[in-house]
Amino acid sequence: MKELEYPFDAEQILQKKKKLRRQLLESGAQFTDKRIAILGGSTTNDIKLILELFLLDYGIRPIFYESEYNQWYQDAMFENTELETFAPDIIYIHTTNRNITTYPCLSDDAKTVDDMIAGEMEKFQSVWKHLAETYHCPVIQNNFEMPYYRLLGNRDASDIHGAVNFLTRLNMEFYVYAQTHENFYICDINYISADYGLKKWADPFYYHMYKYALSVPAIPYLALNVANIIKSLFGKNKKGFVLDLDNTLWGGVIGDDGPENIVLGPEESEGQAYLEFQRYIRRHKELGIILCVDSKNEEENALLGLKHSDGALRPEDFVMITANWEPKDRNFREIADSLGLLPESLVFVDDNPAERHIVTEQIKGVRAPEIRTVHEYIGVIDRSGFFETTVLSKDDLKRNEMYKENVERKKLQESFADYHEYLLSLEMKAVIKGFEPVYMARIAQLTNKSNQFNLTTKRYTQAEIESVAEDDRYITLYGKLLDRFGDNGVVSVVIGRVEGEICHVDLWIMSCRVLKRDMEFAMMDALIKKCMERGVKKIRGYYYPTAKNAMVREFYALQGFTKVSEDEAGNTEWVFTIPRKYANKTDVIKVEG
């Protein structure tokens, strides 16, 4: 929703929040319901209401538990049947420097101050541990914003008695905990408040009047950040950039001006700003963010621009470079298709409002930030939080390579007339086994990220995945696929629940980057093998339609299942009777199991 896209008008969001909420709920979007507990150390009412808007905009419909005023500690630590029944998917602890019990006095010695730090840490850590043990869900914890005043002036930062020093030390301790504990995430209000302007953020008017620890007009900025962490945890991050060239990655029009005259490089101010932007974009590769080009240009000119000696980006940094005179929305769709990604998982970066308009109008859900002028590009994109990083997996770091390999595979495919021959030429090997500890995080991530090749769209937390893996009633399978171009990592997950002689397929997902590689048949072969070992006679499959999973509507038919029922909503049930002698469905993948 335009009103909620950064840079937004915070006052308008606050003033019109009821109307915005209504519009979001009536938009016809499909929502995932999530239960979110807010444990506050100050008033949280509007934080909750504005957070709801941002989450709805991300397709997450929150159901809230909100602690009574400043009851965060009691709610977390003491018996709380209400919260237990609520069973949160996420807990957000909104504490601030207003919740520090005691600050050092000038007469305190170093040991006393150390003890005070340890005391605060013990309080917080006991809460985090207790929550992790009781609720097994991700916890988002504010760090501390800097204090509103500095008794010692600038010395407050370096002196052990200074509040600035004290809060900085506590923040460092919080980070150590975050680095050493899973499912624990810092909401960096220290940065957000600085970015907003601490003087305005901490305006004491709002605390004295309403016990808000931050000024009310700052709430949308906090809420956006919390929403970004939450949507990231539920796999709703964007996956790549689709970038324009002229006046986006360099100044000027390369087709008219020639490569020697485009504005790029350290020689003058604007060129320097474009260079800095190129560096910023390039760094996203480290995060596994895919880079593509969608430009109205001759391809030859596009490449000349990307080979400019003063640029930071090179043609090989991009997974796809599309430069032609077709409408940009058409190219955009084609890029998404060839990568096997949903178009809305790509962010469109273009300086031209008309191009942004056509892409966002034609393709629902695509974000095209209003990047303004070149020195503002980074600021707008960065604060939008498209790629909020909650977990850094090795797979993420390799993703760019993997998509590039896919483009190579496509080239190879074009050289084969027979598809089966092509598949054989890929020399595919798969590892298909029951869930193993090293892959639990990746498996949980996949269940939350896969939307298209997902039969039941059932989401699992890591804790749930671990418990399913240990439970004898379940057959679990993960599939990892390698080929001559590289390792695709874990790309498919199946969970079957065995009841008597029937195995119910609760979950069947596959990453779209391995579509049409017969991996789904290799998985079925493996599932049937496991079923036969356990004396299972029949497999029941379920398909529940969503806005995104139409591609697997006939999945079970393709696998040789028979449809047994279909309701008005299009939910279908399928059955497969395992024959005494089963012949594997695919011979193009060598399976190790």
Partner: protein, 79 residues
Amino acid sequence: MTREEIYAKLNEVFQDVFDDDTITVNDATTADDIEDWDSLEHINLIVAVENAFGVKFNMGQVNGMKNVGEMVDIIQEKV
């Protein structure tokens, strides 16, 4: 700014904050007259009014307002 002009703008603010296009306020309007006007919503109203008129209220003024008329008095003084 005349009182009428202030009221025209103020009505828009109230309609937005309470998401009800039928609301019109006058000198005598108080929190009792508008269903959703509770203490938590009051803060939003204050922020929205401040923003709409480019004014800032102090704590004494916010605490002392008995009705919308008194709010308009303060706005009139400030703009």
